[in-house]
Amino acid sequence: MTTPLSLRSAVTLGGLAVLAIMPLLTEAFDQPYYLDIAMRLMCLAIAAVSLNLILGFGGMVSFGHAAFIGIGAYAVGIPAYYGEYSGFIQIPLAMGASALFALITGAICLRTRGVYFIMITLAFAQMAFFALVSIEEYGGDDGLIIDTRSEFAGLIDIEQTASLYYLILAVLIGSLYLVRRIVASRFGRVIRSAKINDERTQAIGFDSYRYRLSAYVISGALCGLAGALLGNFTGFISPGMMDWTRSGELIFMVVLGGAGSLFGPVLGAAAFLILEEVLSSLTLHWQIIFGPLLVLTVLYGRGGLDGFLRGRNG
Protein backbone atom coordinates (compact mmCIF):
# COMPACT_ATOMS: atom_id res chain seq x y z
CA MET A 1 0.00 0.00 0.00
CA THR A 2 1.40 3.35 -0.94
CA THR A 3 -1.45 5.53 0.29
CA PRO A 4 -0.16 8.83 1.64
CA LEU A 5 0.03 9.09 5.39
CA SER A 6 -3.39 10.18 6.68
CA LEU A 7 -3.68 13.17 8.97
CA ARG A 8 -4.66 10.85 11.80
CA SER A 9 -1.65 8.55 11.45
CA ALA A 10 0.64 11.54 11.08
CA VAL A 11 -0.63 13.04 14.34
CA THR A 12 -0.35 9.69 16.12
CA LEU A 13 3.19 8.99 14.92
CA GLY A 14 4.27 12.60 15.48
CA GLY A 15 2.84 12.56 18.98
CA LEU A 16 4.62 9.32 19.83
CA ALA A 17 7.88 10.66 18.45
CA VAL A 18 7.61 13.81 20.57
CA LEU A 19 6.79 11.72 23.65
CA ALA A 20 9.76 9.46 22.97
CA ILE A 21 12.29 12.31 22.93
CA MET A 22 10.52 14.55 25.45
CA PRO A 23 13.12 14.08 28.27
CA LEU A 24 15.89 15.08 25.85
CA LEU A 25 13.96 18.17 24.73
CA THR A 26 13.14 19.39 28.21
CA GLU A 27 16.75 18.73 29.23
CA ALA A 28 18.10 20.65 26.24
CA PHE A 29 15.84 23.65 26.80
CA ASP A 30 16.03 23.35 30.59
CA GLN A 31 12.25 23.23 31.00
CA PRO A 32 11.61 20.41 33.48
CA TYR A 33 8.09 21.70 34.07
CA TYR A 34 7.01 20.44 30.64
CA LEU A 35 8.31 16.98 31.48
CA ASP A 36 6.07 17.01 34.56
CA ILE A 37 3.09 17.91 32.42
CA ALA A 38 3.95 15.14 29.97
CA MET A 39 4.13 12.57 32.77
CA ARG A 40 0.84 13.68 34.29
CA LEU A 41 -0.65 13.61 30.82
CA MET A 42 0.49 10.05 30.19
CA CYS A 43 -0.77 8.80 33.57
CA LEU A 44 -4.18 10.30 32.88
CA ALA A 45 -4.04 8.97 29.32
CA ILE A 46 -3.58 5.42 30.67
CA ALA A 47 -6.60 5.95 32.90
CA ALA A 48 -8.59 7.33 29.95
CA VAL A 49 -7.54 4.38 27.78
CA SER A 50 -8.79 2.02 30.48
CA LEU A 51 -12.09 3.90 30.70
CA ASN A 52 -12.42 3.85 26.93
CA LEU A 53 -12.30 0.05 26.97
CA ILE A 54 -15.62 -0.10 28.80
CA LEU A 55 -17.14 3.27 27.81
CA GLY A 56 -16.14 3.52 24.18
CA PHE A 57 -16.19 -0.15 23.22
CA GLY A 58 -18.57 -1.57 25.81
CA GLY A 59 -21.05 1.29 26.23
CA MET A 60 -20.66 1.25 30.03
CA VAL A 61 -20.48 4.86 31.19
CA SER A 62 -18.54 4.59 34.43
CA PHE A 63 -18.69 7.83 36.40
CA GLY A 64 -16.48 6.38 39.11
CA HIS A 65 -13.22 5.62 37.41
CA ALA A 66 -11.26 8.04 39.56
CA ALA A 67 -11.81 5.61 42.44
CA PHE A 68 -9.43 3.19 40.75
CA ILE A 69 -6.82 5.91 40.40
CA GLY A 70 -7.13 6.55 44.12
CA ILE A 71 -7.01 2.86 45.03
CA GLY A 72 -3.91 2.40 42.86
CA ALA A 73 -2.20 5.40 44.40
CA TYR A 74 -3.00 4.33 47.96
CA ALA A 75 -1.71 0.82 47.12
CA VAL A 76 1.65 2.53 46.66
CA GLY A 77 1.26 4.98 49.53
CA ILE A 78 0.04 2.68 52.29
CA PRO A 79 2.81 0.05 51.92
CA ALA A 80 5.33 2.91 51.70
CA TYR A 81 3.84 4.29 54.94
CA TYR A 82 4.80 0.99 56.59
CA GLY A 83 8.25 1.01 54.95
CA GLU A 84 7.47 -1.45 52.16
CA TYR A 85 8.86 0.13 48.98
CA SER A 86 9.07 -2.88 46.66
CA GLY A 87 7.28 -2.20 43.38
CA PHE A 88 6.86 -5.94 42.97
CA ILE A 89 4.48 -5.79 45.91
CA GLN A 90 2.97 -2.35 45.35
CA ILE A 91 2.09 -2.68 41.66
CA PRO A 92 0.36 -6.09 41.92
CA LEU A 93 -1.40 -4.77 45.03
CA ALA A 94 -2.60 -1.70 43.11
CA MET A 95 -3.95 -3.76 40.24
CA GLY A 96 -5.31 -6.50 42.48
CA ALA A 97 -7.12 -4.15 44.85
CA SER A 98 -8.57 -2.21 41.92
CA ALA A 99 -9.67 -5.42 40.24
CA LEU A 100 -11.32 -6.60 43.45
CA PHE A 101 -13.14 -3.29 43.93
CA ALA A 102 -14.23 -3.47 40.29
CA LEU A 103 -15.44 -7.03 40.72
CA ILE A 104 -17.55 -6.29 43.80
CA THR A 105 -19.03 -2.99 42.65
CA GLY A 106 -19.27 -4.10 39.02
CA ALA A 107 -21.27 -7.17 39.99
CA ILE A 108 -23.92 -4.82 41.39
CA CYS A 109 -23.60 -1.96 38.88
CA LEU A 110 -23.86 -4.20 35.84
CA ARG A 111 -27.22 -5.51 36.96
CA THR A 112 -28.51 -2.09 36.05
CA ARG A 113 -28.63 -0.10 32.83
CA GLY A 114 -28.24 3.37 31.44
CA VAL A 115 -28.56 6.21 33.85
CA TYR A 116 -28.70 3.88 36.86
CA PHE A 117 -25.30 2.52 35.91
CA ILE A 118 -23.84 6.02 35.61
CA MET A 119 -25.09 7.08 39.01
CA ILE A 120 -24.28 3.86 40.85
CA THR A 121 -20.67 3.86 39.67
CA LEU A 122 -20.55 7.48 40.85
CA ALA A 123 -21.98 6.56 44.23
CA PHE A 124 -19.55 3.68 44.76
CA ALA A 125 -16.63 5.93 43.94
CA GLN A 126 -17.94 8.44 46.50
CA MET A 127 -18.11 5.60 49.00
CA ALA A 128 -14.41 4.84 48.46
CA PHE A 129 -13.66 8.57 48.66
CA PHE A 130 -15.41 9.02 52.00
CA ALA A 131 -13.89 5.84 53.38
CA LEU A 132 -10.39 7.19 52.73
CA VAL A 133 -11.29 10.65 53.99
CA SER A 134 -12.36 9.20 57.32
CA ILE A 135 -9.32 6.95 57.90
CA GLU A 136 -7.19 9.21 60.06
CA GLU A 137 -4.27 6.78 60.09
CA TYR A 138 -3.51 7.46 56.44
CA GLY A 139 -3.88 11.22 56.69
CA GLY A 140 -7.62 11.45 56.08
CA ASP A 141 -8.42 14.53 54.05
CA ASP A 142 -4.81 15.70 54.07
CA GLY A 143 -3.45 12.64 52.31
CA LEU A 144 -0.09 10.92 52.47
CA ILE A 145 3.35 11.87 51.25
CA ILE A 146 5.26 9.16 49.38
CA ASP A 147 8.88 9.97 50.13
CA THR A 148 10.38 7.00 48.28
CA ARG A 149 9.20 5.84 44.88
CA SER A 150 8.60 2.15 44.14
CA GLU A 151 11.77 0.07 44.05
CA PHE A 152 12.26 -2.59 41.41
CA ALA A 153 15.25 -4.52 42.81
CA GLY A 154 17.73 -2.62 40.68
CA LEU A 155 15.95 -3.35 37.39
CA ILE A 156 14.95 0.25 36.88
CA ASP A 157 15.55 3.17 39.20
CA ILE A 158 12.52 5.44 38.95
CA GLU A 159 13.95 7.92 41.42
CA GLN A 160 15.54 9.12 38.17
CA THR A 161 12.83 11.23 36.58
CA ALA A 162 13.73 10.13 33.06
CA SER A 163 13.42 6.46 34.08
CA LEU A 164 10.01 7.06 35.59
CA TYR A 165 9.06 8.91 32.42
CA TYR A 166 9.98 6.00 30.17
CA LEU A 167 8.29 3.52 32.50
CA ILE A 168 5.05 5.50 32.22
CA LEU A 169 5.45 5.78 28.44
CA ALA A 170 6.03 2.03 28.19
CA VAL A 171 2.90 1.34 30.26
CA LEU A 172 0.90 3.72 28.07
CA ILE A 173 2.02 1.97 24.89
CA GLY A 174 1.47 -1.40 26.53
CA SER A 175 -2.06 -0.50 27.57
CA LEU A 176 -2.90 0.76 24.08
CA TYR A 177 -1.64 -2.55 22.69
CA LEU A 178 -3.63 -4.48 25.28
CA VAL A 179 -6.85 -2.63 24.49
CA ARG A 180 -6.27 -3.12 20.79
CA ARG A 181 -5.82 -6.85 21.26
CA ILE A 182 -8.84 -7.13 23.54
CA VAL A 183 -11.10 -5.21 21.19
CA ALA A 184 -10.08 -7.32 18.20
CA SER A 185 -10.52 -10.60 20.06
CA ARG A 186 -13.62 -12.75 20.33
CA PHE A 187 -14.06 -11.39 23.85
CA GLY A 188 -13.94 -7.84 22.51
CA ARG A 189 -16.50 -8.63 19.83
CA VAL A 190 -18.92 -9.86 22.47
CA ILE A 191 -18.41 -6.64 24.46
CA ARG A 192 -19.00 -4.48 21.41
CA SER A 193 -22.00 -6.49 20.35
CA ALA A 194 -23.51 -6.18 23.84
CA LYS A 195 -23.13 -2.41 23.50
CA ILE A 196 -25.08 -2.38 20.26
CA ASN A 197 -27.76 -4.91 21.19
CA ASP A 198 -27.52 -6.81 24.43
CA GLU A 199 -30.65 -8.87 23.91
CA ARG A 200 -29.44 -10.28 20.62
CA THR A 201 -26.04 -10.99 22.12
CA GLN A 202 -27.70 -13.04 24.81
CA ALA A 203 -30.04 -14.65 22.30
CA ILE A 204 -27.14 -16.08 20.31
CA GLY A 205 -25.86 -17.68 23.47
CA PHE A 206 -23.44 -15.31 25.17
CA ASP A 207 -23.81 -14.61 28.85
CA SER A 208 -23.00 -10.96 28.23
CA TYR A 209 -23.10 -10.07 31.94
CA ARG A 210 -19.94 -12.11 32.54
CA TYR A 211 -18.17 -10.60 29.57
CA ARG A 212 -19.09 -7.08 30.61
CA LEU A 213 -18.02 -7.74 34.19
CA SER A 214 -14.68 -9.13 32.99
CA ALA A 215 -14.12 -6.03 30.86
CA TYR A 216 -15.04 -3.85 33.84
CA VAL A 217 -12.50 -5.65 36.04
CA ILE A 218 -9.74 -5.39 33.39
CA SER A 219 -10.49 -1.70 33.00
CA GLY A 220 -10.41 -1.16 36.75
CA ALA A 221 -7.08 -2.96 37.14
CA LEU A 222 -5.53 -0.94 34.33
CA CYS A 223 -6.81 2.28 35.85
CA GLY A 224 -5.38 1.19 39.19
CA LEU A 225 -2.00 0.83 37.51
CA ALA A 226 -2.38 4.39 36.20
CA GLY A 227 -3.07 5.48 39.77
CA ALA A 228 0.04 3.69 41.08
CA LEU A 229 2.16 5.50 38.48
CA LEU A 230 0.49 8.82 39.25
CA GLY A 231 1.14 8.33 42.96
CA ASN A 232 4.80 7.60 42.24
CA PHE A 233 5.03 10.65 40.05
CA THR A 234 3.34 13.20 42.32
CA GLY A 235 4.82 11.81 45.54
CA PHE A 236 1.68 12.97 47.29
CA ILE A 237 -1.65 11.20 47.40
CA SER A 238 -4.96 12.31 48.85
CA PRO A 239 -8.61 11.38 48.58
CA GLY A 240 -8.87 14.39 46.24
CA MET A 241 -7.42 12.15 43.51
CA MET A 242 -10.67 10.22 43.53
CA ASP A 243 -12.99 13.18 43.79
CA TRP A 244 -15.98 12.71 41.53
CA THR A 245 -14.98 15.67 39.38
CA ARG A 246 -11.88 13.65 38.42
CA SER A 247 -14.16 10.90 37.14
CA GLY A 248 -16.03 13.51 35.14
CA GLU A 249 -12.78 14.77 33.67
CA LEU A 250 -11.82 11.24 32.62
CA ILE A 251 -15.13 10.81 30.81
CA PHE A 252 -14.58 14.16 29.15
CA MET A 253 -11.11 13.10 27.97
CA VAL A 254 -12.55 9.97 26.39
CA VAL A 255 -15.43 11.78 24.72
CA LEU A 256 -13.33 14.76 23.64
CA GLY A 257 -10.78 12.42 22.06
CA GLY A 258 -13.38 10.18 20.52
CA ALA A 259 -15.04 7.33 22.44
CA GLY A 260 -14.43 3.94 20.90
CA SER A 261 -11.29 4.89 18.99
CA LEU A 262 -7.99 3.45 20.13
CA PHE A 263 -5.92 6.64 20.33
CA GLY A 264 -8.85 8.94 21.06
CA PRO A 265 -8.40 8.94 24.87
CA VAL A 266 -4.72 9.89 24.51
CA LEU A 267 -5.63 12.80 22.26
CA GLY A 268 -8.41 13.74 24.65
CA ALA A 269 -6.13 13.66 27.70
CA ALA A 270 -3.56 15.77 25.85
CA ALA A 271 -6.15 18.31 24.69
CA PHE A 272 -7.67 18.46 28.18
CA LEU A 273 -4.39 19.08 29.99
CA ILE A 274 -3.09 21.58 27.45
CA LEU A 275 -6.40 23.46 27.58
CA GLU A 276 -6.25 23.44 31.38
CA GLU A 277 -2.66 24.75 31.36
CA VAL A 278 -3.38 27.50 28.83
CA LEU A 279 -6.66 28.66 30.37
CA SER A 280 -5.40 28.58 33.95
CA SER A 281 -2.39 30.65 32.95
CA LEU A 282 -4.79 33.25 31.55
CA THR A 283 -7.12 33.59 34.51
CA LEU A 284 -7.70 32.22 37.97
CA HIS A 285 -11.33 31.65 37.01
CA TRP A 286 -10.43 29.52 34.00
CA GLN A 287 -13.31 27.13 34.59
CA ILE A 288 -15.71 29.89 33.66
CA ILE A 289 -14.42 29.39 30.10
CA PHE A 290 -13.73 25.69 30.41
CA GLY A 291 -17.24 24.74 31.56
CA PRO A 292 -19.10 26.30 28.62
CA LEU A 293 -16.44 24.88 26.28
CA LEU A 294 -17.33 21.45 27.61
CA VAL A 295 -21.02 22.10 26.98
CA LEU A 296 -20.27 23.25 23.42
CA THR A 297 -18.13 20.15 22.81
CA VAL A 298 -21.06 17.98 23.83
CA LEU A 299 -23.53 19.94 21.70
CA TYR A 300 -21.51 20.33 18.53
CA GLY A 301 -18.40 18.13 18.65
CA ARG A 302 -19.65 14.71 17.61
CA GLY A 303 -16.98 12.05 17.08
CA GLY A 304 -14.34 13.87 19.11
CA LEU A 305 -10.87 14.83 18.00
CA ASP A 306 -10.28 11.42 16.49
CA GLY A 307 -13.36 11.81 14.31
CA PHE A 308 -12.10 15.23 13.26
CA LEU A 309 -8.69 13.86 12.29
CA ARG A 310 -10.33 11.17 10.23
CA GLY A 311 -12.26 13.90 8.43
CA ARG A 312 -15.61 12.53 9.50
CA ASN A 313 -16.81 15.04 12.02
CA GLY A 314 -20.54 14.66 12.42
Binding site: I108, Y116, A123, Q287, G291
Partner: protein, 307 residues
Protein backbone atom coordinates in the same frame (compact mmCIF):
# COMPACT_ATOMS: atom_id res chain seq x y z
CA UNK B 1 -29.14 4.37 75.74
CA UNK B 2 -29.77 8.04 76.24
CA UNK B 3 -33.33 8.63 75.02
CA UNK B 4 -33.03 12.40 74.78
CA UNK B 5 -30.09 12.03 72.46
CA UNK B 6 -31.94 9.46 70.39
CA UNK B 7 -34.94 11.76 69.89
CA UNK B 8 -32.73 14.70 68.97
CA UNK B 9 -30.76 12.62 66.48
CA UNK B 10 -34.00 11.35 64.97
CA UNK B 11 -35.08 14.95 64.45
CA UNK B 12 -31.71 15.72 62.89
CA UNK B 13 -32.16 12.74 60.59
CA UNK B 14 -35.62 13.96 59.66
CA UNK B 15 -34.24 17.41 58.90
CA UNK B 16 -31.56 15.99 56.60
CA UNK B 17 -34.23 13.79 55.04
CA UNK B 18 -36.62 16.59 54.10
CA UNK B 19 -33.73 18.63 52.74
CA UNK B 20 -32.65 15.70 50.58
CA UNK B 21 -36.24 15.34 49.45
CA UNK B 22 -36.38 18.94 48.23
CA UNK B 23 -33.32 18.28 46.08
CA UNK B 24 -34.36 14.82 44.98
CA UNK B 25 -37.90 15.87 44.02
CA UNK B 26 -36.66 18.22 41.31
CA UNK B 27 -34.16 15.67 40.02
CA UNK B 28 -36.66 12.88 39.88
CA UNK B 29 -39.45 14.98 38.31
CA UNK B 30 -37.13 16.24 35.59
CA UNK B 31 -35.90 12.73 34.95
CA UNK B 32 -39.39 11.28 35.07
CA UNK B 33 -40.88 13.39 32.32
CA UNK B 34 -37.86 14.51 30.31
CA UNK B 35 -35.56 11.53 30.77
CA UNK B 36 -32.92 14.13 31.57
CA UNK B 37 -30.29 13.72 34.23
CA UNK B 38 -29.08 17.00 35.66
CA UNK B 39 -25.84 17.04 37.64
CA UNK B 40 -26.00 20.84 37.80
CA UNK B 41 -28.98 20.55 40.15
CA UNK B 42 -26.57 21.06 43.03
CA UNK B 43 -25.47 24.34 41.46
CA UNK B 44 -29.04 25.63 41.73
CA UNK B 45 -28.96 24.68 45.42
CA UNK B 46 -25.85 26.85 45.72
CA UNK B 47 -27.33 29.69 43.66
CA UNK B 48 -30.41 29.79 45.90
CA UNK B 49 -28.21 30.04 48.97
CA UNK B 50 -26.10 32.87 47.51
CA UNK B 51 -29.13 34.88 46.37
CA UNK B 52 -30.66 34.58 49.81
CA UNK B 53 -27.43 35.45 51.61
CA UNK B 54 -26.86 38.53 49.45
CA UNK B 55 -30.38 39.89 49.75
CA UNK B 56 -30.51 39.10 53.45
CA UNK B 57 -27.30 41.01 54.08
CA UNK B 58 -28.43 44.01 51.99
CA UNK B 59 -31.92 44.26 53.47
CA UNK B 60 -31.05 42.84 56.88
CA UNK B 61 -33.99 40.47 56.69
CA UNK B 62 -33.66 36.73 56.21
CA UNK B 63 -37.32 36.40 55.27
CA UNK B 64 -37.00 39.01 52.51
CA UNK B 65 -33.97 37.07 51.30
CA UNK B 66 -36.02 33.90 51.11
CA UNK B 67 -38.93 35.60 49.33
CA UNK B 68 -36.69 37.22 46.72
CA UNK B 69 -34.31 34.29 46.22
CA UNK B 70 -37.04 31.83 45.22
CA UNK B 71 -38.24 33.72 42.10
CA UNK B 72 -34.64 34.54 41.23
CA UNK B 73 -33.66 30.85 41.32
CA UNK B 74 -36.78 30.10 39.27
CA UNK B 75 -35.53 32.62 36.70
CA UNK B 76 -32.07 31.04 36.61
CA UNK B 77 -33.75 27.68 36.03
CA UNK B 78 -35.81 29.15 33.16
CA UNK B 79 -32.76 30.66 31.47
CA UNK B 80 -30.71 27.51 31.95
CA UNK B 81 -33.43 25.36 30.45
CA UNK B 82 -33.93 27.62 27.45
CA UNK B 83 -30.24 28.19 26.72
CA UNK B 84 -28.71 24.76 27.27
CA UNK B 85 -30.83 22.01 28.74
CA UNK B 86 -33.50 22.11 26.01
CA UNK B 87 -30.90 21.20 23.38
CA UNK B 88 -29.92 18.11 25.35
CA UNK B 89 -33.25 16.27 25.70
CA UNK B 90 -32.74 14.42 22.42
CA UNK B 91 -29.25 13.30 23.40
CA UNK B 92 -28.22 10.27 25.41
CA UNK B 93 -27.46 10.19 29.12
CA UNK B 94 -23.70 10.39 28.59
CA UNK B 95 -24.17 13.77 26.92
CA UNK B 96 -26.45 14.93 29.75
CA UNK B 97 -23.83 14.01 32.32
CA UNK B 98 -20.98 15.69 30.46
CA UNK B 99 -22.80 18.89 29.59
CA UNK B 100 -24.22 19.38 33.06
CA UNK B 101 -20.77 18.61 34.49
CA UNK B 102 -19.55 21.53 32.38
CA UNK B 103 -22.35 23.64 33.85
CA UNK B 104 -21.17 22.80 37.38
CA UNK B 105 -17.66 24.03 36.56
CA UNK B 106 -19.17 27.19 35.12
CA UNK B 107 -21.47 27.85 38.08
CA UNK B 108 -18.74 27.24 40.64
CA UNK B 109 -16.26 29.50 38.84
CA UNK B 110 -18.87 32.19 38.20
CA UNK B 111 -19.98 32.16 41.83
CA UNK B 112 -16.42 32.54 42.98
CA UNK B 113 -15.90 35.37 40.50
CA UNK B 114 -19.02 37.26 41.60
CA UNK B 115 -19.06 36.63 45.35
CA UNK B 116 -15.42 35.84 46.03
CA UNK B 117 -13.90 32.76 47.63
CA UNK B 118 -15.12 33.48 51.15
CA UNK B 119 -18.33 31.91 52.37
CA UNK B 120 -21.33 34.08 53.19
CA UNK B 121 -23.14 33.73 56.48
CA UNK B 122 -26.77 34.55 57.09
CA UNK B 123 -28.01 35.90 60.40
CA UNK B 124 -31.27 34.34 61.52
CA UNK B 125 -34.01 36.60 62.89
CA UNK B 126 -34.39 36.37 66.67
CA UNK B 127 -37.61 34.34 66.62
CA UNK B 128 -35.88 31.56 64.65
CA UNK B 129 -32.58 31.68 66.45
CA UNK B 130 -33.53 30.00 69.69
CA UNK B 131 -34.36 26.59 70.96
CA UNK B 132 -37.72 25.10 71.74
CA UNK B 133 -38.47 22.64 74.48
CA UNK B 134 -40.32 19.73 72.88
CA UNK B 135 -40.64 17.68 76.03
CA UNK B 136 -39.08 17.93 79.45
CA UNK B 137 -35.34 17.70 78.85
CA UNK B 138 -35.56 17.67 75.04
CA UNK B 139 -34.53 20.95 73.44
CA UNK B 140 -34.19 21.40 69.72
CA UNK B 141 -33.09 24.42 67.63
CA UNK B 142 -36.18 26.31 66.43
CA UNK B 143 -34.75 26.85 63.00
CA UNK B 144 -34.13 23.15 62.34
CA UNK B 145 -37.69 22.44 63.42
CA UNK B 146 -38.88 25.07 60.92
CA UNK B 147 -36.87 23.36 58.16
CA UNK B 148 -38.60 20.08 58.95
CA UNK B 149 -42.02 21.71 58.86
CA UNK B 150 -41.36 23.61 55.63
CA UNK B 151 -39.99 20.44 54.02
CA UNK B 152 -43.00 18.37 55.04
CA UNK B 153 -45.37 21.11 53.88
CA UNK B 154 -43.66 21.26 50.49
CA UNK B 155 -43.78 17.48 50.22
CA UNK B 156 -47.50 17.48 50.99
CA UNK B 157 -48.28 20.24 48.51
CA UNK B 158 -46.15 18.56 45.86
CA UNK B 159 -48.08 15.34 46.38
CA UNK B 160 -51.31 17.34 46.03
CA UNK B 161 -50.13 19.14 42.88
CA UNK B 162 -48.97 15.95 41.18
CA UNK B 163 -52.03 13.88 42.06
CA UNK B 164 -54.91 16.36 41.99
CA UNK B 165 -54.24 19.33 39.71
CA UNK B 166 -54.24 19.86 35.97
CA UNK B 167 -50.50 20.54 35.81
CA UNK B 168 -49.96 17.39 37.88
CA UNK B 169 -52.01 15.40 35.41
CA UNK B 170 -49.86 16.81 32.60
CA UNK B 171 -46.70 15.86 34.50
CA UNK B 172 -47.92 12.32 35.00
CA UNK B 173 -49.06 12.09 31.38
CA UNK B 174 -45.66 13.38 30.25
CA UNK B 175 -43.91 10.74 32.32
CA UNK B 176 -46.08 8.00 30.84
CA UNK B 177 -45.90 9.05 27.19
CA UNK B 178 -44.70 12.46 26.18
CA UNK B 179 -45.18 12.00 22.45
CA UNK B 180 -48.82 11.16 22.95
CA UNK B 181 -49.15 14.18 25.22
CA UNK B 182 -47.72 16.37 22.48
CA UNK B 183 -50.04 14.80 19.92
CA UNK B 184 -53.01 15.68 22.13
CA UNK B 185 -52.14 19.34 21.74
CA UNK B 186 -50.23 20.06 24.92
CA UNK B 187 -47.24 22.38 24.54
CA UNK B 188 -44.74 19.84 25.85
CA UNK B 189 -41.76 22.18 25.57
CA UNK B 190 -43.42 24.73 27.81
CA UNK B 191 -44.31 22.01 30.30
CA UNK B 192 -40.68 20.89 30.35
CA UNK B 193 -39.45 24.43 30.94
CA UNK B 194 -41.86 24.97 33.82
CA UNK B 195 -41.08 21.65 35.48
CA UNK B 196 -37.34 22.25 35.17
CA UNK B 197 -37.59 25.73 36.67
CA UNK B 198 -39.86 24.46 39.45
CA UNK B 199 -37.31 21.76 40.26
CA UNK B 200 -34.63 24.44 40.29
CA UNK B 201 -36.70 26.47 42.76
CA UNK B 202 -37.04 23.48 45.10
CA UNK B 203 -33.27 22.99 44.97
CA UNK B 204 -32.80 26.70 45.65
CA UNK B 205 -35.19 26.46 48.60
CA UNK B 206 -33.16 23.60 50.03
CA UNK B 207 -29.95 25.56 49.57
CA UNK B 208 -31.18 28.78 51.14
CA UNK B 209 -32.66 26.94 54.10
CA UNK B 210 -29.34 25.23 54.67
CA UNK B 211 -27.28 28.42 54.25
CA UNK B 212 -27.84 29.83 57.77
CA UNK B 213 -26.48 26.54 59.18
CA UNK B 214 -23.56 25.80 56.83
CA UNK B 215 -22.99 29.27 55.29
CA UNK B 216 -23.20 29.74 51.53
CA UNK B 217 -19.98 28.56 49.91
CA UNK B 218 -18.69 27.60 46.48
CA UNK B 219 -19.28 23.94 45.65
CA UNK B 220 -21.75 23.50 48.52
CA UNK B 221 -24.19 21.70 46.25
CA UNK B 222 -21.79 19.17 44.82
CA UNK B 223 -21.46 16.72 47.67
CA UNK B 224 -25.11 16.84 48.70
CA UNK B 225 -26.07 16.31 45.06
CA UNK B 226 -24.45 12.87 45.11
CA UNK B 227 -26.48 11.96 48.18
CA UNK B 228 -29.61 13.21 46.40
CA UNK B 229 -28.69 10.97 43.47
CA UNK B 230 -28.40 8.04 45.87
CA UNK B 231 -31.87 8.97 47.13
CA UNK B 232 -33.49 8.91 43.71
CA UNK B 233 -31.71 5.68 42.80
CA UNK B 234 -33.01 4.00 45.95
CA UNK B 235 -36.48 5.46 45.51
CA UNK B 236 -36.68 4.55 41.84
CA UNK B 237 -35.89 7.27 39.33
CA UNK B 238 -39.00 9.19 38.34
CA UNK B 239 -41.05 8.46 41.45
CA UNK B 240 -41.82 11.37 43.80
CA UNK B 241 -43.21 9.05 46.44
CA UNK B 242 -40.09 6.88 46.20
CA UNK B 243 -37.92 9.98 46.51
CA UNK B 244 -39.76 11.02 49.69
CA UNK B 245 -39.46 7.66 51.40
CA UNK B 246 -35.86 7.15 50.28
CA UNK B 247 -34.89 10.68 51.37
CA UNK B 248 -36.19 10.09 54.90
CA UNK B 249 -34.55 6.67 54.99
CA UNK B 250 -31.18 8.00 53.83
CA UNK B 251 -31.34 11.05 56.09
CA UNK B 252 -32.18 8.92 59.09
CA UNK B 253 -29.61 6.19 58.46
CA UNK B 254 -26.82 8.65 57.73
CA UNK B 255 -27.49 10.67 60.88
CA UNK B 256 -27.98 7.64 63.09
CA UNK B 257 -24.83 5.98 61.73
CA UNK B 258 -22.71 9.01 62.46
CA UNK B 259 -24.20 9.40 65.92
CA UNK B 260 -24.37 5.88 67.24
CA UNK B 261 -22.25 3.53 65.12
CA UNK B 262 -19.14 3.89 67.26
CA UNK B 263 -21.11 3.12 70.42
CA UNK B 264 -22.69 0.11 68.78
CA UNK B 265 -19.40 -1.16 67.43
CA UNK B 266 -17.72 -0.87 70.81
CA UNK B 267 -20.05 -3.61 71.96
CA UNK B 268 -18.41 -6.09 69.61
CA UNK B 269 -15.00 -4.59 68.82
CA UNK B 270 -12.19 -3.25 70.96
CA UNK B 271 -12.25 0.44 71.82
CA UNK B 272 -9.47 1.27 69.38
CA UNK B 273 -10.77 -0.76 66.45
CA UNK B 274 -14.23 0.72 66.86
CA UNK B 275 -12.87 4.24 66.89
CA UNK B 276 -10.92 3.62 63.67
CA UNK B 277 -13.59 1.74 61.78
CA UNK B 278 -16.74 3.58 62.85
CA UNK B 279 -16.19 6.90 61.02
CA UNK B 280 -15.28 5.11 57.78
CA UNK B 281 -18.20 2.74 58.03
CA UNK B 282 -20.73 5.42 58.92
CA UNK B 283 -19.59 7.49 55.92
CA UNK B 284 -20.15 4.45 53.72
CA UNK B 285 -23.45 3.42 55.26
CA UNK B 286 -25.85 4.99 52.76
CA UNK B 287 -23.89 3.60 49.82
CA UNK B 288 -23.98 0.15 51.35
CA UNK B 289 -27.73 0.60 51.82
CA UNK B 290 -28.01 1.54 48.15
CA UNK B 291 -25.97 -1.49 47.10
CA UNK B 292 -28.12 -3.85 49.15
CA UNK B 293 -31.37 -2.40 47.81
CA UNK B 294 -30.14 -2.48 44.22
CA UNK B 295 -28.88 -6.02 44.55
CA UNK B 296 -32.44 -7.00 45.40
CA UNK B 297 -34.31 -4.48 43.21
CA UNK B 298 -32.16 -3.05 40.39
CA UNK B 299 -34.80 -0.44 39.52
CA UNK B 300 -35.13 0.93 43.04
CA UNK B 301 -37.97 0.66 45.51
CA UNK B 302 -40.76 2.49 43.69
CA UNK B 303 -39.72 2.59 40.03
CA UNK B 304 -42.58 3.83 37.86
CA UNK B 305 -43.96 1.08 35.68
CA UNK B 306 -43.21 0.93 31.97
CA UNK B 307 -39.75 2.39 32.20
Amino acid sequence: MDWTLLVIQMLNGLQLGVLLFLLAAGLTLVFGIMDFINLAHGSLYMVGAYFCATIASVTGSFLLGVLAALPLTFAVGLVLEMLVVRKLYARDHLDHVLATFGLILFFDAATQLIWGPESLSIALPAFLDGRVTLAPGIEFPTYRLVIIMVGLAVAASLAYVVSATRIGALIRAGAANRRMLGALGVDVNRLFTIVFAAGATLAGLAGLMMAPITEAHVGMGNSILIVALVVIIIGGIGSVRGAFIAALLVGMIDTMGRAFLDTAMKLVLSQQNAETAAPALSAMLIYILMAVILAARPQGLFAPKGR
